[in-house]
Amino acid sequence: MLLASLPLLGLPLAGAATTEAPTQEPGSSGEPPPGLALFRWQWHEVEAPYLVALWILVASLAKIVFHLSRKVTSLVPESCLLILLGLVLGGIVLAVAKKAEYQLEPGTFFLFLLPPIVLDSGYFMPSRLFFDNLGAILTYAVVGTLWNAFTTGAALWGLQQAGLVAPRVQASLLDFLLFGSLISAVDPVAVLAVFEEVHVNDTLFIIVFGESLLNDAVTVVLYKVCNSFVEMGSANVQAADYLKGVASLFVVSLGGAAVGLVFAFLLALTTRFTKRVRIIEPLLVFLLAYAAYLTAEMASLSAILAVTMCGLGCKKYVEANISHKSRTAVKYTMKTLASCAETVIFMLLGISAVDSSKWAWDSGLVLGTLFFILFFRALGVVLQTWVLNQFRLVPLDKIDQVVMSYGGLRGAVAFALVILLDRTKVPAKDYFVATTIVVVFFTVIVQGLTIKPLVKWLKVKRSEHHKPTLNQELHEHTFDHILAAVEDVVGHHGYHYWRDRWEQFDKKYLSQLLMRRSAYRIRDQIWDVYYRLNIRDAISFVDQGGHVLSSTGLTLPSMPSRNSVAETSVTNLLRESGSGACLDLQVIDTVRSVRDREDAAMHHLLCGGLYKPRRRYKASCSRHFISEDAQERQDKEIFQQNMKRRLESFKSTKHNICFNKSKPRPRKTGRKKKDGLANTEATNGKPLRDLGFQDTAAVILTVESEEEEESDSSETEKEDDEGIIFVARATSEVLQEGKVSGSLEVCPSPRIIPPSPTCAEKELPWKSGQGDLAVYVSSETTKIVPVDMQAGWNQSISSLESLASPPCTQAPTMSRLPPCPLAAEEPQPPFDLPYDPRPSFAFPPSLAKAGRSRSESSADIPQQQELQPLMGHEDRTHLSPRTANSHWCIQFNKGGRL
């Protein structure tokens, strides 16, 4: 079996070469019977895609195998392993098929394998860091590459003149320059693969990596110019051609960048209007980026530069526009594609090296090239750094320079370019191929293997990942503004000045144009950090609390050390207790290192565990958009709930306080969603609750809903802040609807919850009944959910703070309540039902228990879960009118329209 499949592996990835495919059709019967074939084996029809899939599969499996052993991967970069694997596979193919079947096809490489990697790196490039170091990056990319190309080419020519290269290598100076131009460029794929595992400090990384991306333009130009010179013959080259060569450098690089930016603009603009079709958002990102690549390639501009700029330029706006889910989808798809392409590239590199028919070995040339690229790279780096340091605020020290010189890895780009050479025009092509392979292998394997120990030995500053804090974010903004201001005062229009200018321009025009209004509102970096912090806290709290709180009943690890509760902001607690869960997706963003993978795994694990209780509903939601959203909300809600509960219990146990208000309130945020979900999904037909309830609720709500009549449907999203809105509107409408249409199921939601459910139930019909609504909901989901959580969190935090003050009875608690205590209480009386946990309430013991137990064990009754949320829900509705800011009003209106 294995043997049989091996030749297949040897097939070219591109379907182009299918002709030479092994004619292996194990199952095919020689001659098809005249009648109906019961079984037909059609290998040829699926051959090409099948092989591609097999290739990728093999590569992925190999990756898995490599990572089975932590030791191996920590010592040997994955790229090395893959190349070695490729060598082995290639050897087997050679042995079996008697000829080398496969090699890395330049066409495949440039059109399919390279773009994902470049897009990935451009899109996830830390843009601030990149622009902060843009000067250095450009210098190294342009000057450095030119320098490397010319010196290497010239030195090799000199070597030949000195007679150290065998005379059978027939190459002129131009040939050597051509070779120099393709061998001199640092390769983004190789650099990324190695540096990602090394974790040098950010500045160093961005310089090396940025250089490898941006030097593409130079490489392409040099290669093309030299190539055409070679083809014209050196005698025919005129002075004008040299000038054109120089000019084309600008055309290719600036043109490529321009193409990229244009597509970035288009992409951002397009995503602005995808609110109703969230599903295609990720696709758009990939399509337009790929279109940018192809367009640049078509115009023979620098395609790599185009994609890099496209990714870099669009990210901010796209991320703001697309939904949360799409963001995750984009992230993972991009990472998957990139790592897939990278894996395949390295493996194919190994395999193609086996093909000795393309080789022609000349020791002088090989050794000379190896020496020269290392030597001139180092020399170039030192010289450029010396110049750059005159202008840099933070000079690059010697250690940095060593790493930069040593990190100049060559890779698949060089290989693909050398394969592209025309043997009739470049007689020494075979020698060049062999040399390139050796150089690539040497840099990837030898340098890749040694760079980690080297970095350790030199004590290069490593990158340190610390979690962002609000303070840091805020102060960083302050610094930026201060520096910009100081530059103004000093009258020097430097980097900070222009950055400030750009930001203002961006804020005033670009963002307005490219971000949907709702997104624009929410998009603020400080707010962003705040938001993320809260989410992370919530999640890790659940994680940690799940073990600690339930088992020990209230002792967080950090507890003993604290004497005053005042400091118990959740964050602090979490931070100090050092919960192991790192749920920050950000982490996945930046690196694919082992550690991060583990984090990711942890994340998934957590998610799985946490969401479980709700999962059972999933089957019932067939609708694409809505159901998903609902699910998401539910999940989030559960988080929130659990956390709240824990917090509460924690507090109360600690202080023996009863927390009436704080508890219900946080929940309410989640509630509304839940309700909606419950309704939509609830399969269990529960008895309807009393109409009386609904009426009361309806009345209350109506008032609110009236207030908000101006809302824009377009603004739906912005309202995410308050979940309340939905509920309120829903109720009023629902009432009407429910009465009118008997078909509506008012009470899908759990029966158990008497009072509050009313609102929720009403919502239900609304949601499920109207198609439009569904759309809205889906679009909002992403944003809404988080916001809710935030709100909940804020409250919980504030409640915690309030706790800080002496342990107290109810009265104090109430006074502490966030903005809207009064509002909350008023509505109560009507709702005060046995189960209602709300305002004055002390959680009914049974309920509380149920909730707790539920949190502890995932196997609880769904109904119980819903109970609590619903109750919270009510609070929301009541609260909202009072607390209401303009946002809420708007939201309500929407509901009305619907």
Binding site: R392, L393, V394, H466, T469, L470, N471, Q472, L474, H475, E476, H477, T478, F479, H481, I482, L483, A484, A485, V486, E487, D488, V489, V490, G491, H492, G494, H496, Y497, D500, R501, Q504, K507, Y520, R521, I522, R523, D524, I526, W527, Y530, N534, S564, A566, E567, S569, T571, N572, D721, Q790, N794, I797, S798, E801, A804, P819, T883, N885, S886, H887
Partner: protein, 189 residues
């Protein structure tokens, strides 16, 4: 060098034709419209981009400590000296008895801190934090959200639980940041 020159700013600046100092002096003269020998608030406010800068007003204020209405060239330079890059050699060789140079990490931080601490009580109160955040965050965030951000920010840095951020707490919250780098401008070297 700059350090010494800064201390000697009492002398007419042209005596020490240090390039950046000279440049600052030219700038000073340019800003000083009426050739009155000092700068007033208005002079600085005329710098167009400063008006757009959310912290512009506060930075101008920092040029006029203690309610002064004018700043002379030494004062002008002294403020800007906060933004000199830190020289590595400096720190090692500095005479411990000498006061810390203005561009030390602490002084840079203190400068920032004073931008926040409007009432100069040595603490960034919740209210002060809120004001800063309001400047920085822009319109799109609602007042309520702003409040919660403020709460959290203060809480995050506040270690002794007094609901305000002292200078010590402030420096701690920025402990991991490369202040020397982030609060420096190259041309002031």
């Amino acid at each position: 060098m700059w350090l010494s020159s800064k201390k000697q700013t009492k002398k007419p600046p042209n005596v020490q034709p240090e390039t950046s100092l000279l440049r600052l002096y030219h700038r000073f003269r340019a800003l000083d419209r009426n050739k009155k020998g000092y700068l007033s608030r208005v002079d600085l406010q005329q710098i167009g981009a400063l008006a757009v800068n959310p912290l512009g007003e506060r930075i101008i204020d920092s040029f006029f400590p203690d309610g002064n209405l004018r700043v002379d060239f030494p004062g002008f330079v002294r403020v800007l000296a906060h933004f000199r890059p830190v020289d590595d050699d400096d720190s090692g060789m500095r005479d411990p008895k000498q006061p810390e140079p203005l561009n030390s990490r602490m002084n840079k931080l203190r400068f920032v801190f004073q931008l926040y601490d409007l009432d100069r009580d040595g603490k960034i109160s919740r209210h002060e934090m809120l004001q800063v955040l309001r400047l920085m965050v822009g319109v799109q965030v609602t007042e309520e959200q702003l409040e919660s951000i403020t709460d959290r920010t203060v809480q995050e840095a506040d270690e002794d639980g007094d609901g305000a951020v002292s200078f010590l707490e402030f420096t701690k919250s920025l402990e991991k940041m490369d202040i020397e780098q982030k609060m420096s401008i190259r041309i002031l070297k």
